[in-house]
Symmetry: D2
Subunit: 133 residues, 4 copies
């Protein structure tokens, strides 16, 4: 899968008094993109947490804001895996105004695989590797 | 304790494109008021969850919006217990512009005491009753 | 239109450390339901703000929490108009686990129509009345 | 001013089902740090928006997560200006567990000065330069 594309509608709650989307919310949209990427690859992230007893903890997040997203805009989030190994994965994101070439923002999140109980690093089990690597 | 007063500063993140605070955020401010009420009464809610193995789950929330709060306003949250017994507690809140009589909003939250593991109702243990009842 | 139904997927960002959805987020879902109700009735709320120069300000919000919503749940929001006149409108909401009869929460929001510039009450113009009344 | 330090208390609303603070909220804490930095330097950001008719728009945000922040933690946000000129400013942040050397996260936000009306770049007026440059 080169990238997965998902759509979301900008909520009023996500705007601020500049009349545009508050910048922290793009990180939430990246979460939506990442979760839908995994689902399209065959893994519900909810099941991953429960069945593997693991988390995919964010250790770095980066976003570059190109054009403001506005209330009620339909946004396409394109998510891909940029880098990965059994200990970590980097997801890349492009957020576009749906049906256009207008790049609103792009960025990445870097994750490490953790044991859910101890919150310590743990290698991704073999049976999940085809999803991420 | 008739009521407990705590102050908070409106964040840019909490505004929306109307130029005022988005209404759902007042429920978060009620949480801040409630937690500080408990702390002033001698109970860190964090310890309550950990030591008693319980939650105080919200079963109803109500807010009436009187005047808009704006970015950077200093808001006073006055919290009191309106009603309580070993199974439930109702907190009441008034949110005012700090240093004035301007009532921004008022409301209440109704909670039941739950066992943290089963998320089933559980009576408040004796040693916590003086806080709430 | 008796009611309008829209679906949304619970985001990780919307959960809290109880492992369920944080209660203030249901008010955001009501916003999603209300906006989609209006769109289905022929009015993009974004256009209403821009073309009529008006807001539909929340003056009261109420939510009763019945069953916890969880991460990745698909939630159906059923929105209807409970009461309305040229000065105000009350929307009612039921939030269910999609494809089931499990009522997660229900509630209402009461709104007054405001002039966007002055933030003072203003009667709904005739050409919008069929949407709300 | 080498850096400005401000404190905030972690809200329950800011946690997620991992039992720690959801990562996007650190960007909101950066906003709190930045606003308090400006206030300590003599400028209420609210007045800047109103009096200068300008915004300080975020064009890039970056955060590296070192240790999880938890509910009710008291967090110190240390904010400094890393780079600036009349067109832009970069703020750097360190977030620590208050009263300790535990670095929770660090990062930066890059901003450009915009005209509030047109949302186009505009040079910072002379009378505000001592705050940022």
């Amino acid at each position: 899968m080169e990238f997965h594309e998902t759509r979301l509608r900008v909520r009023y709650a996500e705007t601020d008094q500049m009349g545009i989307v508050y910048h922290a919310n793009y990180l939430v949209w990246m979460e939506v993109g990442r979760v839908e990427y995994c689902r399209a690859a065959g893994l519900a992230y909810r099941d991953f947490e429960r069945d593997a007893g693991m988390h995919m903890a964010v250790v770095e997040a980066n976003c570059r804001y190109r054009l403001p997203a506005r209330y009620d805009d339909l946004v396409s989030v394109r998510t891909r895996i940029r880098e990965s190994n059994p200990r970590m994965v980097v997801f890349g994101y492009e957020m576009l105004l749906d049906g256009s070439d207008s790049l609103l923002a792009d960025g990445f999140t870097r994750h490490v695989f953790l044991d859910a109980r101890s919150l310590k690093p743990r290698k991704l089990p073999e049976n999940y590797r085809h999803i991420f690597i």
